[in-house]
Structure formats: structure tokens, C-alpha cells
């Protein structure tokens, strides 16, 4: 093993600590998301039923008005 070029060997060692392409893009996406102003809402599993009720009520109002 050539031990003379320590600097090159250190560079080789440090290279193993660099991020994968996946990490590279994931962190960029997280930063963008944080500043995009878009909020992700987590809704409950039965949200479809809740929305259906809301729209039925809204539909009834609209029919009354009509």
C-alpha cells in the first residue's frame, strides 16, 4: 500500500461520507417545501364520509335556494 500520498488517501476516506443522490435531492425538497407556503394537511381515514356529509348539506341548501 502506498502510504506516501496521505492527502489523497484522506480524500478517499472522506469521499465515503458524502451523501447519496437520494439524500441530496431529499434534503433539497424538504427545504423547498418548508418555504413554499404549501401546507400538507393530514386528514383522518374517514374524511371521505365527512366531506360527503358536508356536500349533501350544501347541496340541500342550494336546492332550497333554487
Amino acid at each position: 500500500m502506498n502510504l506516501h500520498d496521505t492527502d489523497t488517501l484522506i480524500k478517499t476516506a472522506v469521499d465515503a461520507y458524502h451523501p447519496s443522490a437520494r439524500i441530496f435531492e431529499r434534503v433539497r425538497a424538504r427545504i423547498r417545501r418548508e418555504h413554499s407556503g404549501v401546507k400538507v394537511l393530514f386528514v383522518s381515514a374517514d374524511s371521505a364520509k365527512i366531506l360527503e356529509k358536508v356536500f349533501k348539506k350544501y347541496d340541500a341548501w342550494m336546492q332550497k335556494i333554487a
Partner: protein, 168 residues
Amino acid sequence: MNAQKKNEAFDAVYDALFPDVYAYFNVCFGAQEAEDLAQEIFLRVWRAIQDGKTPDNWRAWVFRCAVNLKNDFLRRAYASRETQPLDEAQQDLSAAPDDMTRLAVQRAFAALPKDCADLLTLKSFGFKSEEIGTMLGVTASAVRTRLQKAKGLFSEYLEREAKTDEPA
């Protein structure tokens, strides 16, 4: 600077510096913390660009922030004693070494005391002793002395690893 120009400016800094910043934190704390800490640094870059603050030398600015964040993290970890000791932090050496030399080099580097690995990492990114001294708050000659010692230790560990790998 309009929003698109700001995005482009951010991407340019991110593309150029993220891999090294992540590697620096990975050497210091392991892969899990590296991702969070590197993200924090680039959130600061984002804010700086939004505020119209663009330093003359992004590389020096970013690494000064990184060294400060590392020190803050160490202080918090010491205060809470929740994180694992630095020497036990996991290195992500998942990139399969293509030969025994590379493996020995990685093992030798991973075995270094963290302050030595930290210093050698900054040096390997091309910073001069004066710049590293400014980041760490020590003189350039102190940096040179420590670098010499760290390199000596690395060579010593490497020789030991090489002997271990030699067939009996």
C-alpha cells in the same frame, strides 16, 4: 432579485456545497444527524438569499456556520447526554469499498479521534490553515501543528490496518 433568481442562486450554492457540508457532519456525528444538520445549514442559506445577504465567499460562510452548528450541537448533546458518544457515532460506510486498500483507508479514518477527523475533513475540502483557524477560533500555526499530528496518526492507523489485511 426576483423569486426565480433567488431559487437559482440557492440551487447554485446547494449544488456546490451540500455534499461537503453533509460529509463534514457525517464524519462528526454519523449519517442520521448529518442530514438534519446539513438541512439546517441550507435553511440558513435560503434565508440569507431571501434577505438579500450574499456573502463574498459562500464556501467560507457556510462552513463557518457548519462549525458553529457542530459546536452548538455538541454543547446541547453534552448538556442532555442523550446522544451517543462521538466515537460511537455510526459512519455510513455503505458504499462498498472496491478493494482492500480503500477499506483499510476507511477503517483507519473512522478510527481517528473525532477532532482529528474533523480537521482532516476540512483540509481535504481545500481550506487553508488560516481559514480553518478562523472557523475553529485558533491560530493558523496551531492548525498546522494539529494537522501534522492528525496526518501522522492517520498514517499510523493505516499501516496497522494494512498489516491486519495482509494474508498470514
